[in-house]
Symmetry: C2
Subunit: 254 residues, 2 copies
C-alpha cells in the first residue's frame, strides 16, 4: 500500500503541512518520490508516523521523539521517566500559579480597598523590598534555600490586614531609626529597639529568622549603594548606624 501526503494525512488524522514539515526536519521521510516529485509513503512510514503520534500525545517534542525512535528501545524508558519528572514539576508550577492567582483574586475581590494601585504604589518601599529579595537570593546561596525561600510567596499570601500591619511597621521602623540615629549610639536602648523592629519587619519577607543572615544583611546595607542611598536619604550615615545596631543586636560585635 502506497500513500500520497493527503492519503497518509487522512489516515493518521494530521495535516499535509505536518507531513511536509516532518520531512524537512527529517523525522519522517517518504519512502520515495515519484517521477513528478510527489512524496510516496509506504507501510514502514505509516508505522513510524504512528510512533511519532503516540509520543506526541504523551507531550514529547519532536526532537525528543526523533531521538527515541531512531535509537534503540532502551532509551525510550529513560526518556519516559525524564519526561514524567518534567511533567510533575510542570504540574507543581501550575499548582503554584493557581494558588497565587486565587490569592490575588481573593485580595482583589474581598477587600477592594487594596486595589492594584495601592498594592504597587510607593516606589521606595518596593525598592527596598526588591533589594531584600535580591539579597535574599544571595543569602540563600550562602545559608541554603530554606531561610529565604518563597519570600515572594509570603508576600502574595499576605492579607490586607497583614499588609496594613507591614505598612505601619515600616513607618515605625523609619521613625524609630531616625530618632535612634540622633543618639549616635548603636547600643542605646532605642537603637536596639530599632534593630528589633527591623527583625520583625524582615519576618514579613523571610520564612525563618537567623541571626547570621540578619547580620549579613546589615553588612550589605552598607556595601550596596542603593541600600545606603535609601537609608541615608535624610541623614547620611544612617545605613552604617543601622548596621552597627544590628550587629550588636545579633551579637556579632561586642
Amino acid at each position: 500500500m502506497e500513500y500520497t501526503v493527503q492519503k497518509l494525512a487522512l489516515l493518521a488524522g494530521v495535516s499535509t503541512r505536518t507531513l511536509r514539515y516532518y520531512d524537512t526536519i527529517g523525522i519522517l521521510k517518504p519512502a520515495k518520490m515519484n517521477s513528478s516529485g510527489y512524496r510516496i509513503y509506504g507501510q514502514a512510514e505509516v508505522d513510524r508516523l504512528q510512533q511519532i503520534l503516540f509520543y506526541k500525545e504523551l507531550g514529547f517534542n519532536l526532537v525528543k521523539i526523533k531521538e527515541i525512535i531512531t535509537s534503540p528501545a532502551f532509551n525510550a524508558v529513560i526518556a519516559l521517566k525524564e519526561h514524567r519528572e518534567q511533567l510533575l514539576s510542570k504540574r507543581s508550577q501550575i499548582d503554584q500559579l493557581i494558588h497565587n492567582v486565587e490569592k490575588t483574586i481573593a485580595s482583589n475581590e474581598g477587600r477592594m480597598k487594596m486595589t492594584n494601585q495601592e498594592k504597587f504604589e510607593g516606589f521606595k518601599q518596593k525598592l527596598i523590598r526588591d533589594n531584600e529579595k535580591k539579597y535574599g537570593n544571595e543569602i540563600r546561596e550562602k545559608y541554603g534555600d530554606d531561610i529565604v525561600d518563597q519570600s515572594n510567596q509570603k508576600f502574595l499570601d499576605m492579607t490586607k490586614e497583614k499588609h496594613d500591619e507591614l505598612s505601619k511597621l515600616t513607618e515605625e521602623l523609619n521613625t524609630t531609626l531616625e530618632a535612634a540615629y540622633k543618639t549616635g549610639d548603636p547600643s542605646s536602648d532605642i537603637a536596639q529597639k530599632t534593630a528589633d523592629l527591623h527583625k520583625q519587619w524582615l519576618m514579613y519577607y523571610w520564612k525563618e529568622y537567623n541571626e547570621e543572615a540578619h547580620s549579613g544583611l546589615a553588612d550589605m546595607y552598607v556595601d550596596d549603594d542603593r541600600f545606603t542611598a535609601y537609608y541615608d536619604k535624610n541623614q547620611p550615615g544612617t545605613a552604617k548606624f543601622l548596621r552597627d545596631a544590628i550587629h550588636i543586636y545579633t551579637g556579632k560585635k561586642q
Copy 2:
C-alpha cells in the same frame, strides 16, 4: 529618579532586551528619550513594570497583561478568573499526560516482551484500529460522546495481559469469521458466534456497548473501502457477510 535601560533592568531583574521589546510592543514605553535617543524611564514606568512582572509571574501572556493594566481595575478580576480556569484545565491535561506516561512506563518496563516494536507492529491491525477510532468519532457525533470516548485512553490503559487477550481474540475472530463465511449463512450459529466475538473485540476499544452503534459500524465495514479491503483480503464478500451477521445479531434485520 531617572533610569536608563540597564539601570531599570538591574533594578527589576530583567534584561535590557526585554525592556526594548516591551517598548516596541507598546506595553512599557519610556517616559522620554534624551538628546541621543536613549530611553529614560521614570517612577511611573517602574511601577508599571512591577505590575507587568507581577502578572507575568501569574502566567499571563503580554497581550493579556496589556489589557489588564491599560483598562480599569475591574477587568483584572475577570481576567484572573478566566486565567484560573485555563490553568485548571491545563493542569488536568498534564495529569492526563502523567497518567499516560506512567502507563507506558509500566508496560515498557514490567513486561519487556511488549516492546515498542511489538506494540506498534502489524500494520493491518493498526489500520483496523485506526478505522475503529475514526468511525468511533463518527459514532460519537451520532450517538453522543459517552459511547466511544477515550478509546485511545482505554488502549493506553491496557496491560500486557489485556493486550495478549486482545491479540488472541483478534485471531479467534479472524478464524471464526473465515469458517463462518464458508457456511454462507449469516444466521448460522458460527456466524452469530463471530458477531459475538466481534462485539467482545469491540469492547476493547469502546467504553460502552450499544447495539445501534455496533450495527452502524457493520454498515461502515461495507461502505469504507479500506475496511472492506481488510476483511475481504482472503475471501471477497467477507465484509458484507460480517455486516449481515452483525445485523442479525443486533436484531436490526430479521
